[in-house]
Symmetry: C2
DNA sequence: CACGTAAATACTGCTTACAATATAACTTCT
DNA sequence: AGAAGTTATATTGTAAGCAGTATTTACGTG
């Protein structure tokens, strides 16, 4: 194993990404190259390159001569992104489900246990972010579809901050925990049709919640 | 309409993209920043930024300290990309088909006419590239799904060079023209189910052709 | 001759500094 | 006072050059 030599651009990208996902940088806020460069003790070039990378991830809008801003997703865009997620994640699950071993399923269950515990502790931040992604990831782990997975990761990262916001403002999703259990059961039974269908409705119902909130906010 | 002020980065990106798509730069070939910079009469900075952009488009692989290469798609990757295209394009069509006006359909038919003519002239380059994309684009034009469309554009651009290669080596797809006609008919009849199903098989059959060729090439 | 090691090279990554563009502030005129 | 034009300022885009990394070549050693 060779030591990883991280380039400044990568470090800067990680730093800015974290700022956006955590909400430290709010949607729509402009990202000044010089300010970021000084704050992170690098020149503007790695900052520019990091911003370009983040644009590819959909976290940043980069307009020539005008600068970069954290992407502000409209209700319509949220709508479309969640539709895409439903489509793509069902595709992943359909390729993965037959190959899931008992061990995979137990690992998923373990994650689910942590997740439920986090919810009880009130740590919704962790529950909806890292643990939720980890649970879904376990179920897709045998899909062997690298490009599709990359897309799914991108979109889930991208919508995460809106999910968080929703939870903050609306008190979270009451139904999600049970839904996860149901989904896991369907996977254990290798019921492709039903599992995929249920996964889709699971994602789409989350969408409806968030969209309602966003529309309300846009009206203000 | 304000005059567009194109940045050097954008111009460089277009130039390199064209080189890759046209085959002037072959898959796997390294892209030297200094060489490109000199050839295009710019410094290395816009070249680097253009390469980053092309990486986001999937046309280039950018590895730290090792440089950029034109992406070399394996048979597996082609397989996955075409599956994604089938999924996403069917999604677009399903959202667009009801809203397609008689005029949209006539325009699609007009493109189809040009396309068939190009095939007869033997201009498969044009037929499978610009015109094919234009025909499909007309059918998706009322989907109102900007992000999905962007993905589809990306993937079709990305696979175009492999399609071209296939045509060069295998003499083209015998069945495609009739399939386009059939698809158009199904759209005219607003038969969502059948149109989407047919579109999927249309894309997946093209996949099989190309994949077979690629596997053959990989064995050499 | 094989193999590991050290110098040379070719390239990428980054900094500093300058040029070009867009926006904000300020006149000037009606 | 308000609109149009003009300067000033902030910010981005690009260039040239140095610093750092990976790869190749040359060399010595067993």
């Amino acid at each position: 194993m060779s030591i990883e030599h991280k380039t400044r651009t990568q470090l800067v990208a990680e730093a800015i990404r974290e700022k956006i996902l955590s909400g430290e940088i709010k949607a729509g806020e402009p990202l000044r190259q010089a300010a970021l460069a000084e704050e992170l003790n690098v020149s503007r070039i790695p900052v520019r390159e990091a911003l370009l990378q983040l644009e590819a991830e959909g976290l940043v809008n980069f307009e020539a001569h005008k600068g970069a801003t954290a992407t502000q997703l409209s209700a319509d865009q949220i709508d479309e992104i969640f539709d895409l997620r439903a489509l793509l994640e069902a595709e992943l699950l359909s390729h993965s489900i037959q190959k899931l071993t008992p061990r995979d399923l137990l690992e998923a269950e373990a994650v689910l246990y942590d997740l439920e515990e986090a919810v009880e502790r009130g740590d919704t931040q962790l529950a909806t972010g890292k643990l939720n992604a980890e649970f879904h990831g376990k179920l897709y782990s045998k899909a062997d579809r690298p490009q599709t997975s990359e897309l799914v990761d991108m979109y889930s990262k991208n919508s995460e901050r809106y999910v968080r916001m929703h939870i903050l403002l609306a008190g979270g999703f009451a139904t999600a925990p049970e839904e996860h259990r149901t989904l896991l059961e369907l996977c254990k039974n290798k019921d492709i049709e039903q599992a995929c269908a249920f996964l889709k409705t699971h994602i789409l119902s989350a969408k409806e919640d968030i969209k309602a909130l966003l529309i309300k906010m846009e009206q203000e």
